[in-house]
């Protein structure tokens, strides 16, 4: 917004006292504060002395320092205040030169000057303040962006730090891989021992907002504590859903989750999949998929889930992942897909080697262009003495 004329100081430089005084009177009548200078040198002195000057109106031909010299000196000092040049009819080429040197506008010294000076000053001020305002907005935006980027980096760091590392359990080899996208993500996984049982889970919160990250952190905490007090995965998921529904309310946000329990005394695996993509059980080069057993978490507090049972015998593996893995695309836009993943699982490999194999294949497929978080968790049952 352009400030009131009363707070705008204009310096009029002209060696012709008549023109100088006339312009000063016209501009004062418009409400501006006006100061005058007899030539470019006096104008420059006033400018250099720090006089508050919002705009300069200057003649071109003046003794000691001409208009062009004044423009150069002001611009060299780094000031961007508007400068309007007064010029005669025969000096249009000089006026154009002045514009190239840094003048904002020029007006002709003719019989219309009484009208044109006011319009030219107002236009120049308007343009100047718009430019300034734009600059301020851009700076503010850059500052905000920088802050957001910083917060995003911090959030990613926190997210990564709340995921477990070095998961080691008696009789079960665990391999994990987590690769966040450049956005805030909501993937998580966890595993722990509870007497003879190994509990494990993988989840993916919808969206890529700060809320996704918060819900991811809260859900992981809820599941971890429920998993230490309850033993039936259906009960754990059902209770977690009630608590999470309270948090996400009617936002539509949700999470897909696979929660499993392995009984190491019987090798029995019980899995609940809350809308999670199919996971794979690999046994003697044979791959079976375990499909979703109920709705996603966060939509309806009354939801219940079924469980799937399977046997994870020695040497068999369970491969869990989030859709960031299967939804990567090649350059032609084709998805890697569940089939792409399944095709890599036929060979019995240690969990770590299997993860490396999958990740390398996916990276080659999408030429490193990941749009989403990618999480992989593999559990491989070791022989009893393993």
């Amino acid at each position: 917004m352009k400030p009131d004329n009363g707070s705008v100081s204009i310096l009029v430089a002209d060696d012709d006292p008549l023109v100088r005084e006339m312009l000063a009177i016209i501009l004062q009548d418009e409400g501006y504060r006006v100061d005058t200078a007899e030539n470019g040198a006096e104008a420059l002195n006033k400018f250099s002395a720090g006089d508050p000057i919002s705009l300069i109106v200057s003649d071109m031909n003046m003794p000691q320092l001409d208009g062009m010299g004044l423009i150069r000196a002001v611009r060299d000092a780094g000031a961007d205040l508007p400068i309007i040049i007064l010029t005669g009819n025969s000096e249009v080429t000089t006026a154009i030169q002045a514009l190239k040197t840094g003048a904002s506008d020029y007006i002709l010294k003719d019989e219309n000057i009484q009208d044109t000076i006011g319009i030219a000053v107002e236009k120049a001020l308007e343009k100047h303040y718009l430019k300034k305002q734009n600059q301020q907005l851009q700076e503010e935006l850059a500052r905000k962006n920088e802050k957001l980027e910083h917060e995003k980096a911090l959030a990613q760091k926190v997210q990564k730090s709340i995921l477990p590392r070095d998961l080691r359990f008696q009789g079960v080899e665990v391999g994990s891989y987590y690769r966040p996208s450049d956005k805030i993500g909501g993937d998580f996984f966890d595993a722990w021992e509870n007497s003879d049982k190994v509990h494990f889970l993988i989840g993916d919160v919808s969206g890529h907002s700060t809320s996704s990250a918060l819900i991811m952190a809260v859900s992981k905490g809820i599941l971890h504590s429920l998993g230490h007090t309850l033993s039936d995965p259906r009960e754990i998921v059902r209770t977690a859903n009630r608590m999470i529904c309270n948090i996400v309310s009617d936002s539509g946000m949700f999470l897909t989750l696979l929660y499993g329990v392995l009984d190491r005394t019987t090798d029995e695996l019980t899995v609940v999949s809350a809308g999670h993509n199919p996971v794979f059980l690999v046994k003697d080069a044979e791959v079976t998929s375990l499909d979703s057993t109920g709705s996603v978490i966060g939509w309806d507090p009354e939801d219940t889930w079924d469980a799937t049972s399977a046997v994870l015998s020695a040497g068999s593996s369970l491969v869990l992942y989030t859709d960031g893995l299967t939804e990567v695309k090649d350059q032609a836009g084709a998805e890697f897909g569940e089939k792409g993943l399944e095709a890599l699982l036929g060979e019995a490999l240690p969990a770590g080697a299997m993860i490396t194999r999958i990740v390398q294949n996916v990276e080659t497929f999408c030429t490193g262009e990941f749009q989403d978080d990618l999480t992989l968790l593999i559990l491989r049952r070791m022989p009893a003495d393993g």
């Binding site: 949700f254 809308g275 979703s292 709705s295 996603v296 939509w299």
Partner: protein
């Protein structure tokens, strides 16, 4: 993403085409909010031209479903494309949302919903 809005009698037909994903979910949500603000509370959502729907898109559908229900309105999804149908199936959204095979069935669903709303 494009949202084409039309009418079938008293009911709004919103036809989506393109991707319903994180980048377009807000546009969808705001269009649904506008309908609710103008008191258009019975809406058919045609999804046959949606190429891709991610978790944000699915979340937006569910949020819209709940918002219409909250206002005693009804949102019916119809003709999901194969990709969308798969997302609905895996997440069981097809059991939470109102689904209809065709636009005519969707309109009939809305007529019944309005009728039973009047009776109750």
């Amino acid at each position: 993403m494009e949202i084409k809005i039309g009418m079938d009698g008293d009911f709004v037909i919103a036809e989506l085409s393109g991707d319903l994903v994180a980048g377009t979910a807000e546009q969808f949500k705001s269009q649904m909010t506008k309908l609710m603000e103008k008191n258009f509370l019975n809406v058919v959502l045609e999804l046959s031209k949606v190429n891709f729907m991610d978790s944000s898109g699915l979340g937006a559908c569910m949020a819209a479903h709940k918002a219409f229900a909250e206002k005693k309105g009804t949102l019916v999804c119809t003709k999901p494309s194969e990709t969308v149908a798969k997302v609905f199936r895996v997440t069981r959204a097809d059991q939470k949302l109102n689904m209809a095979g065709t636009r005519t069935e969707a309109v009939m669903f809305l007529q019944n919903a309005v009728q039973s709303g009047r009776q109750s």
